[in-house]
């Protein structure tokens, strides 16, 4: 499984590679010494809280922002000084940035025409691309303000892909959509990725979205890369407390205080905390303090002296019941939480 670390020298050049990229916005380090790579054809997701520098990073890769330090390499070649129009990178902006004065099809045809294609050819390519994303001729003739949010998103996607870019950047493509549209859009993004094989870098602040798909997950905080790797590994065995806490509900405690094996901070995921277990790694008496019903599961808050534990399951004894809880999996953490 390819990682986002250093690539071996004889492997094919990564589609995108950042080396020590930094950018300051006034006194704030928006991006602080970030190094990461996107292998050719891979789907990489960057996950992090708002303001952690994810959008700035995309701006640097696309060439709209010049980094204060570091290099940007595209297909192995140094592109740090290259102008945006020469980089051949497709991008879907957070606010979509569809040209309001052009119809959907003219929006999509903009790229090919800018690169010298004849109007007729550009329009036919645009029509074909719009059909691939599910936009018919009727909608294609409308201006962006005459389309729904989901339709606008598809047009933006088509516009970025029609130029056959070497890589695709997506800036929070799902955050402005209603929940029921999000899975449709994500499915479309992944289908297109599968069909075109274009290296894709998606930025999001939603952990569920980030983990559901993609080859590599990169967790960022405050301008720095905290950790990266396959989503599954980062969830089950994160190295950092920040990653553990950000990817989902987590019980992070001092091993000694909680009476767990090992030393330092450890992670117990709520689904690994069982009530009245048989043969668990440790058991402690607790009291059920609170119950939250989530439809398909329940979240229980268990009181253990001054500590509070979160557990997940299908059913729990009522509030106030004394139980014995045990952890079936305890994972040691290496580095600290959010500064």
């Amino acid at each position: 499984m390819p990682t986002a670390g250093n690539a071996p020298s004889c492997a094919p050049a990564e589609a995108i590679r950042l080396e020590g990229v930094s950018f300051r916005h006034g006194a704030v380090r928006a991006v602080d010494g970030v190094s990461l790579g996107v292998p050719p054809g891979a789907f990489v997701t960057i996950l992090g809280p708002s303001g952690c520098g994810k959008s700035t990073l995309l701006g640097i890769i696309a060439g709209h922002i010049a980094p204060a330090a570091g290099r940007v390499l595209l297909a192995g070649a140094d592109a740090t000084r290259l102008s945006p129009e020469a980089r051949g990178i497709g991008m879907v902006f957070q606010n979509l940035a569809l040209f309001p004065h052009l119809s959907a099809i003219d929006n999509v045809a903009f790229g090919p025409r800018a690169r010298g294609a004849a109007r007729v050819e550009a329009l036919s390519r645009a029509r074909a691309m719009l059909a691939r994303v599910g936009i018919g001729d009727d909608e294609a003739a409308r201006r962006p303000d005459g389309l729904s949010g989901g339709q606008r998103q598809r047009v933006a996607l088509a516009r970025a892909l029609v130029t056959r870019p070497a890589a695709l950047l997506l800036d929070e493509p799902l955050s402005s959509l209603d929940t029921h549209l999000r899975s449709q859009m994500l499915e479309l993004v992944l289908r297109l990725h599968g069909e075109t094989g274009i290296a894709t870098l998606m930025v999001t602040h939603d952990p569920a979205e980030a983990m559901a798909h993609g080859d590599i997950l990169v967790v960022m905080n405050r301008g720095k890369v905290v950790e990266s790797g396959p989503p599954r590994r980062l969830y089950d065995s994160p190295r950092s407390e920040f990653t553990a806490g950000f990817l989902g509900p987590a019980n992070i405690v001092d091993a000694a205080v909680a009476g767990l094996p090992g030393s330092g901070r450890v992670l117990v995921r709520p689904e690994h905390l069982e009530i009245n277990p048989s043969g668990a790694a440790f058991t402690r008496p607790m009291v059920v303090a609170r119950l939250e019903y989530h439809g398909h599961e329940m979240l229980a808050t268990l009181a253990d002296g001054p500590l509070r534990w979160v557990a997940r399951g299908r059913g729990f004894p009522p509030v106030g019941t004394a139980v014995v809880a045990g952890a079936s999996r305890v994972h040691p953490l290496e580095t600290g939480g959010p500064p």
Partner: protein
């Protein structure tokens, strides 16, 4: 709309309506007075078309023609100059932007007559000098309107265009220009109206044969003491301005 608080609008609205429409109505009435006898400026209470009859002669025909052509020239030149200045100033931010806008507006806001003094020494006399001087007076405001419009364009649009392969020229031609067209139209209209009313430029840099309606108005008022004739010139000027607005409906400033 709730009535509560609507009264707040009344004083300003009244002032503007009275000042412009009221002034125009009074000017029209003044133009219909008989010329004053002796040292009088006009015959109070009289009614006469004498001043209007004079307007039909060749002298006034030339003045009206000069006025119209000046208006067109000033509109075109000031909009073009304003557009280029706006392109330079609009992308800036922070103190740089404030400085650029200060430099653009300062000459207009500080000592117009000193500038005319300078223009008189630097530019040749004649109609072109008058037009250039008037353009000098109007261009900063055109630049202001256009800067506001350009900064209203979402910066992501230019970035998106560049990412799609458009160089700076294409970004200007295909994105910035189309989206700034309403502001350009407004500048042309305002430039036309202010150009029609060109006064200081033609007065100080134009030759005696190149008077505009405003120059003639002032001459009739203060040099010759013929108020009805000056008022008639004023009415013609206002009518020309109204034509400018009727020809292309003004986009809502609201």
């Amino acid at each position: 709309m709730t009535g509560r608080g609507a009264w707040l609008l009344v004083p300003a609205l009244l002032a503007c309506a009275l000042g412009t429409a009221g002034g125009a109505a009074l000017t029209l009435r003044m133009s219909l007075h008989a010329p004053g006898t002796g040292a009088g400026l006009y015959e109070p209470g009289s009614w006469s078309l004498a001043s209007w009859a004079v307007l039909a002669d060749a002298h006034h025909g030339r003045i009206i023609a000069t006025t119209v052509v000046t208006g067109l020239a000033v509109a075109a030149l000031s909009t073009a100059a304003g557009y280029l200045m706006a392109l330079a100033a609009a992308p800036l931010s922070g103190w740089r932007f404030a400085l650029a806008m200060g430099l653009i507006l300062a000459p207009r806001l500080c000592g117009v007559l000193a500038a005319l003094f300078g223009l008189q020494r630097l530019l040749p006399r004649g109609w072109p000098g008058g037009v250039l001087a008037e353009t000098w007076l109007v261009a900063p405001y055109a630049a202001l309107v256009l800067v506001v419009a350009m900064r209203g364009i979402d910066p992501a649009l230019a970035a998106a265009a560049r990412g799609l392969g458009a160089g700076p020229w294409l970004v200007l031609a295909r994105v910035v220009w189309p989206l700034s067209l309403p502001a350009v139209a407004l500048c042309l209209q305002l430039g036309w109206v202010w150009g029609l009313g060109a006064f200081l430029g033609p007065l100080f840099l134009g030759g005696p044969d190149q008077a505009t309606l405003a120059v003639e108005m002032q001459r009739e008022l203060f040099d010759l003491g013929r108020w009805p004739r000056a008022a008639a010139d004023g009415v013609v000027l206002s009518l020309l301005c109204l034509m400018a607005f009727a020809a292309s409906p003004r986009g809502a400033r609201a």
